[in-house]
Symmetry: D2
Subunit: 287 residues, 4 copies
């Protein structure tokens, strides 16, 4: 429900106490380019102590849940296991499993990103290796990461692939940019997809927040275990347009934290400008 | 899976035989401005005979499932009961139930459309009755129907409501237009929402195809009854950008029928132009 | 040139002294819903005294230059004559004169707005009077004003006209909204055109700021009189996206005044957010 | 005027006879990736014989008029001199001359493209050489060509430049793509600019067709020589959205030729789909 009138900070622990399941965004909430958000380990200790379930809901298609969990563990968050992670890349993989039964899946991204979309019957091929000989067997294009390929040559190849083949194009991460340090950002897969759409006049299928499908993925896992109600779940994120809008739309209560994309000085004006209102605002996801 | 190479018509009955559950779009598939699509009753007789489940998945927020089912029955489709209908309006209602706990919900639409979004604790008010006295208590704006209000006066009122109040704005039907006869269309709620977005710089929350949430709504009902897999479900629609794209993205096999928005002469060129490929193409949803 | 570093107010008179010709926006610069901007008469007295030329460059297609000048005079600005006024409506009229030689021009707007686009050989007809009998003779659609027609019935008629006829569609005012009092706005022709574009998938031809054509119209009149250079002209406006962007792009020095769309408290943040930088900022166009 | 009812081919020479001045698009009209359009030399011989003036109006900012003319001459079109060429790059240069008086102009493009925007007082610097030391002196960003820089590193640098500096960003060519052979295209500067806009939320200033400013540039040159009327000028192009739309909007009669972007089999359906109607359609600009 919409409780925030003006900008009013809530106490993180008091809010958490009202919910049974917590969905966390990853980047900007649990960690940043500097490492873990200080104190966030205490939050997971509290969740364990109280027997609360949690998921990490992330627009990241660059690595498998196993690799994502391993990187959290290396940073000191032992509580996060692969099964806690729901990534937009997993939805892209499910789509390919269900909808593209044979032929080649051409991809833009690193080998790590390609590895985990491998499916029985499907052959993954970096766009750089597309040729007149294999193009007719390509049945999908997937953008997984903004790294791992030559932008000039491979984005042009991707454009011409979509002009010649009537196949689904998937952006496995809808974000337009991500922070690389405290004053610069990097262009992300979502923005590259926008550019290709402008050129070819076809739309990418986008997986990831704010779209409901990623929330549903976690929700179904919960439901398979026990009866659950959307009112029992809280979504915590640092970005109004993805985490908060997506959580709100799916029917969840939402918490904006100020450790990432939304700075304390901007929070109120951005909420008013966008009309995207979190149920709560907290300084950090730290108990 | 993507089986369609060039434009190749499939036999409706042979396709149906491969699935356990059928999702139908309504307008353009089961009926049009002229009444029922001829022969469509036989399809529902077949489904009943074979014990197959079905849902009507419709971007219609103008009436309750009860009124929608009643209108099918009046036209001769006795098989369609309220519980078969999943409308974008039901998602808007769920959103209001979960996210807007008190105050006024201002709406654009007919009294019929407003009636069924009534929720305990919420007061619905047509935008025409907004005033300086009640505006501060409005906690959501919902666009339900393109009829039932004065466009000039009430669209301007809706614009100023969103400029003054930081509240969610919901388009309970994302379609931009709908056919009113065999050569004219009417501007629909989705296009009105686009116009308001241009003026106020805020985004509406849109419920309905191609967004996954409406498919999930039906899928969850199915799962609550028995184990089900997305491969067992077929989505049938007449519109590439909503029915087919949405079904594909959710992971369902899809069938395009040529009795509505997509005419036989345009089907192939539109599939190529958009890159949205149905699993099958059939003349009509008629067994 | 871009002289504004941070937000720094200039003295109006000192700025004016550096230019030979002044282009003024109308609404928000010379007058508002409350009448003339106080003191603006002194500015025109100064221009006359110094023998400087001026034009009013306005996105207004609702009335002829004669009627616009008369309304300035009624408000007390005697200096403004019809020949000082360059309106987006005049460009629409020139387009019709040059490009649509016969048949009917269907319009949305008041009779006043239609009157002055009348051209020899062309018959203007309100969209409300379109019928199956005359539609085949319509050779252009022009949106002149947001008033003077029934939105529901006539916007739908305009949509179907553009679906059936391959003709130019003209938005004679690109603005999306205009202020009606100190806290409300009204939807303008530009936003109505956006909505129709969404439905029919065709683009309107837009005349008016920020497009260069309206500045060129004034510039050509000046050049016909005497040699003139863009460096001698200053454009004064209250709106970054139309007046300042358009003036900058045309190569003119620009002045933002804070008596209209851009409030003193927002000016700096909007300049930074949009990247549209006026050469000068002044409180008001008042000497 | 709009004379084309259905798709009806006109005789090139008969059309040309009705006009005093001809504006030609370059790529797709005079030449292609295969060299000159066969027979186009005869057109220029005819123009010379009849004493008709002409201009080449091109969305090309990659080379100076001198280099463009030299490349026509190498291909055998001796008639084309630098003074016949009006390029979008010349408008970008004029903008920089008038609006950016000092500091650095950062550019994306080849050294050839940068050379001719050099202006007294302005220092041009490739984006690759931007650093923390010189960024504060950058007063404009100009995209001139899609070649000559590293896309990954320099597009990201351009994004962060625009996030940190409140300066004009110029796309000196609005085209989204250009053909590189008879079945592939290459992403052009316009599409790169769209991507950057998505990331930074600011708009580029675009020079080139269909914007009127480039037509005006040629028109002013003509007017400086002798009295001229828009009715005496014909614009010839191969692209509806740039050449024909831009010519129409500026008030010129227009001719679509079928030797470039618009193929004979697509011409009619694209005209109907876009509503952009040329005055004439001819097979080629060949007398």
């Amino acid at each position: 429900m919409y409780k925030v009138a003006a900008m009013q900070l809530s106490d993180f622990r008091s809010v958490i106490d009202q919910y049974d399941v917590i969905f966390f965004d990853s980047y900007g909430v649990l960690r940043s380019y500097e490492g873990l958000v200080p104190g966030v380990e205490r939050t997971f200790a509290l969740l364990e102590e109280q027997g609360k379930e949690f998921f990490i809901i992330t627009n990241d298609a660059s690595r498998s849940p196993e690799l994502l969990a391993a990187s959290f563990q290396r940073q000191g968050l032992q509580a996060i296991q692969p099964q806690h992670i729901i990534s937009s890349g997993m939805l892209a993989k499910e789509f390919l499993d269900l909808k593209v039964n044979d032929g080649i899946v051409a991809y833009l991204g690193t080998p790590n990103s390609a590895h985990y979309i491998d499916s029985s019957g499907l052959h993954t091929l970096p766009v750089s290796q597309l040729s007149d000989e294999n193009m007719h067997r390509v049945n999908a294009l997937v953008m997984l990461d903004d790294e791992g390929f030559d932008w000039f040559s491979d984005l042009n190849k991707a454009v011409n692939l979509l002009r010649h083949r009537t196949i689904p194009a998937i952006a496995a991460n809808p974000d337009n940019s991500y922070p690389v340090n405290n004053h610069d950002v990097s262009i992300a897969v979502g923005a590259l997809a926008h550019m290709i759409e402008k050129v070819v006049g076809k739309k990418f299928i986008r997986f990831g927040k704010p779209d409901s499908q990623i929330f549903m993925f976690a929700y179904e896992i919960l439901q398979a275990r026990r009866p659950i109600n959307k009112r029992q779940i809280l979504m915590i994120g640092d970005t109004l347009q993805t985490d908060i809008l997506g959580g709100n739309k799916f029917g969840l209560d939402t918490m904006l934290v100020l450790t990432g994309n939304t700075q304390p000085r901007d929070a109120e004006s951005r909420i008013i400008a966008t009309g995207i209102v979190p149920t709560y605002i907290c300084e950090a996801a730290v108990a």
